[in-house]
Symmetry: D2
Subunit: 342 residues, 4 copies
């Protein structure tokens, strides 16, 4: 199979990471690369690490440019995907790496994104219960947010196995690439190096309803989520510390068993041996998820830690994994579980 | 007043930070500096940033060397302070920057430190209710742990005002200096740069009972604590994300009011204006604590963020603040609320 | 003495560092703080580490606002200082932290800054031969560039002692704060963390003629300078590696002696003991300069390494040191040689 | 072809990087993995990023364990390779990633390594003049040092084209992984983050004679090298700033032409478009070398900047590239020019 793929939004971090992965995907041929303000520039000036594509010139994001591809990846700012997708035709696989089609509840969308709800597409997190079935053969995929990827994988087994009370508390640290490539003063190297700081505190971060959607589906009942994201002095990586009160009768063994069962056949989930803890460095550039669980008996809480690369499994790698499923390719085609460390 | 101060353990990070602060404390004259394996070396070889003391030679930690001082600071590994303190005499102010005398409950000590309980000294966190009274005139001070400092200051007002349910969930990120200067592979720059990782997960970190002690005292009832520490790629700083379920009837205004009241007269606590969030960079090298609170109505939780410099307010600055109180000096003598940023 | 000081450009990195130092300068009272686009904002929103000034509101940079001060510091973009200085009157001490008045040669200025030459003020590097005499009593001071500070202090003794051939080769690494607070994509944390990169290669960096001016003056003959600046993944600090061919007959002893003599009475220059090398961490936040020299016999070259804090000794600390001299205050008033480390 | 490869020294940084690359080399089957003090441990505990090998147990480095492989990579401390190599038989390809067989001059070896010279093997830098011919079919390969790789590639074209005077001045910044995984205090994260510092100044670094050997060969006359290495706050990467006086008559065009010619057919050398400069982030995890040249007319010097990943092209990637040549495989098998950025 040769899959011809276009990338709309190739000059940003998500688009760049997608290209890094597509370059080694043996079934994909890279087609049009588009941008908005950067159209007309060679990719090498904007993504100097993608040497084989250095001479490719960015085109404007128009229907004509995007036509004639089997897959179109949208790495666009929130709210722009629907208009582009409509022009692409139903036979094209459209993979939206933005938020536009993630939420099922229009009210949630409107509350958190302050714009009209565009709809809901099959959700690109194959590891969730029913996740692969929803993606197989689909022509539209909504790639999950980076935080919801890390958090949902960490907690859904506890909820699916009815081990946890429906009130999750999550604190996650993200590398700065999660905030994108637009130059803002608080994202300057001078500001972020040597500093940890929170943002979107108190339930206002846009990824919160997406986590609630995923965890509630796993639990079969509404789950509340207290989510605090923090910015860490590193370019990539998310470390999510997720906890919930244990249901009566839960113990460490039951917890471990539930996680071993949930991830027994997952190619990208690395439930670590007991005593070893996740580290974002270990999944740098990789599509793997490292997970470890603990039962804090004194506090009566289940604590689950997950580590992902926010740009890889958290965005572009997750997008490719779902594309593979949608196209009927082996799920791990072009995806690695080997990190670049130290 | 001229206070003659000795520092036992001057070659480590806590001892070095203490000396940095003592050098600008106008009432203190720096006396003996001791070390164990580094005795005999000039301080300049081990603490090259402390230029005015570069030529001072480290002495062994003996009663003779420590004799003749008004204050002796102990920056020793856990379990070594009691033996040294006994030799110093009751008229000397002994400030223990280790853990030995922090916990009131011997069983807690034995469980978390696996050694006999040495006793309990007045606790050096002046901002806690009754904190200053316990320190005034005291000849023994137990300096709090760095995490308990950040966490207790963040949550005690909510507990003292009966706003929070007695189950606290805390995730904190610390700079690497909190792990000390002993060379261990997982603390190498190659390992920590670009990585976030947890440790001591599941209620096993030694600072957990200290937090429970402080928060339970503030609440007037037992508080459970789920505490997860993480290692962040920065040399200094702690960012603590602390939350608890709100009691019925709590709202954002009540929460803000409780914190404004608790910290109205505190020289080192910076309850930030609404909309501004703590950052460890802003308290780099300073004795200030930045705090911000939020009420997450959907999750029904109080979320409090605090940022400190783990070596300053979290260790050496806190030690000096308590020393000032014990000696009857103005509490802020030699202490600054100005950070070194960016 | 109470010196009333205004700071024009208080929202940037240089202005912020100056305020950090002025806050502990016992003879200075901080007067007007001005900004351009940030005028009207409280300083606490822009410089959250300067807690004692958090409530001060930035004013526009006008003659009226700047009137009535004993000293006015200009931390403005290049080319703006002359117009402001003209309005201030000859009796006011004006300290320009920009480049406008550093170069003596108008042709150099025009070539490197592409604008008309504003003139030349006494140069604020007291450690240079004749440096203090030029500053004493002066009402105008041109603060040196950060790189020229590190480089000139490293090499002038070798040139003054006629030990080095007049062709200097310099490679320096700077922390990102040297590039200022304006948000540019290549200065994002995501870009700079984990990366070293050069800029201004091939003799085009604006600090090159300033180095040539200083070294030629020390040598008594024209010195050429090959200067390559690099951006390092750290917020602060300059490490300059400076070398030149040794003149015939030079040996290690002669070199060491020349440096010991040059810096024997310098309060801020720390010529390190043999075997110890400079590190930017050791001068973090301090006005100290660490210097070490080596003679590479096989290559026939003198190698000198210097480390400074680019914002402190390299900008704001150097400005204060020169101000102290100009006003007849003890030179080290308000300035520290103690770094914040680790 | 199936090449069965053993790695002696699989628990260190060089060994780990080699395994990361071997895992995606389609002609290689990974055989024995050995270690010294870490023998008996699962690789997953020491190299958690190499998930597909997590369960492999490290064996002791003995002839029996290393027997039966087509290729044996030695990632051992200096001085240990000769003894192991002797036991392996002449039909086995032995690739030494240590220094033991790099230097041709026994006196150089003895001076810089203070031990008897083991001999000289074909040198694994294919891009040097005659480099590939020396490697084709060879059963022994000496992998170059990381600094000599970056420096030799940067300067050999200038010397080979007789453009540069035979006195090179080099300042290079390296990530901390270059110093290895042994825990030493000065390599702690607390020490290296936020700091730049030099080491091995004055011609004493062991890589100096290797650079001299390579550059002298290219020039056809003895070249002196003044080399100053510095430690940068990043895990990986070398940025080398290399300069030499231009010979009479040299200009920018001649310089550019020489470099374009030297690298026209090199698969891993990325001579950047004019105006773009190397950055270590762009080659993170990649086997590419970024190079840019400038002619500083005022100083009369050629300035060449190169960026590599010290563990990839600088060690393990270079080793694989040479192995491919020795075995008659396509030179880029298993090697990528795509960096992991940001």
């Amino acid at each position: 199979m040769v899959v011809r793929a276009a990338v709309a939004g190739a000059s940003g971090y998500a688009g760049g990471e997608l290209l890094r992965l597509l370059l080694v995907h043996r079934e994909v041929e890279i087609g049009a690369l588009t941008a908005n303000s950067n159209a007309g520039q060679p990719l090498g000036a904007l993504q100097p690490h993608l040497r084989p594509l250095a001479g490719r010139v960015l085109q404007p994001t128009t229907p004509e440019v995007l036509a004639g591809h089997d897959v179109v990846f949208l790495a666009l700012p929130h709210g722009q995907s629907a208009a582009v997708a409509e022009q692409l035709g139903d036979e094209v696989l459209v993979v939206d790496m933005g938020a536009d089609f993630r939420l099922k509840d229009a009210a949630d969308w409107e509350k958190f994104y302050a714009s009209p709800h565009a709809g809901t597409w099959p959700y690109g997190l194959p590891e969730l219960p029913g996740g692969r079935a929803a993606l197989a053969g689909s022509k539209r995929i909504a790639v999950p947010g980076c935080y919801p990827t890390a958090v949902s994988l960490a907690l859904f087994p506890a909820y699916a196995a009815q081990l946890a009370e429906p009130e999750a508390v999550i604190v996650a640290a993200s590398g700065t690439s999660g905030a994108g490539k637009a130059a803002k003063p608080h994202l300057l190297g001078s500001e972020v190096m040597g500093s940890m700081s929170p943002y979107g505190v108190g339930g206002v971060h846009r990824h919160t309803p997406e986590m609630i959607q995923n965890l509630s589906a796993a639990a079969g009942e509404p789950v509340t989520v207290s989510f605090t994201p923090t910015l860490a002095p590193m370019p990539r990586g998310i470390l999510a510390t997720c906890s919930a009160k244990a249901r009566p009768g839960v113990n460490a063994e039951a917890l471990r068993t539930a996680y071993e069962k949930a991830f027994a056949d997952e190619p990208f989930v690395d439930l670590l041996p007991e005593g070893q803890w996740p580290a974002t460095a270990a999944v740098y550039g990789s599509n793997a998820v490292q997970i470890q669980v603990a039962y804090d008996e004194a506090a009566g809480r289940i604590v689950v830690i997950s580590a992902i690369d926010n740009l890889a499994k958290g965005t572009a790698g997750g997008a490719l994994q779902s594309m593979n499923i949608a196209l009927g390719l082996p799920e791990d085609t072009g995806l690695s579980t080997i990190g670049v460390a130290p």
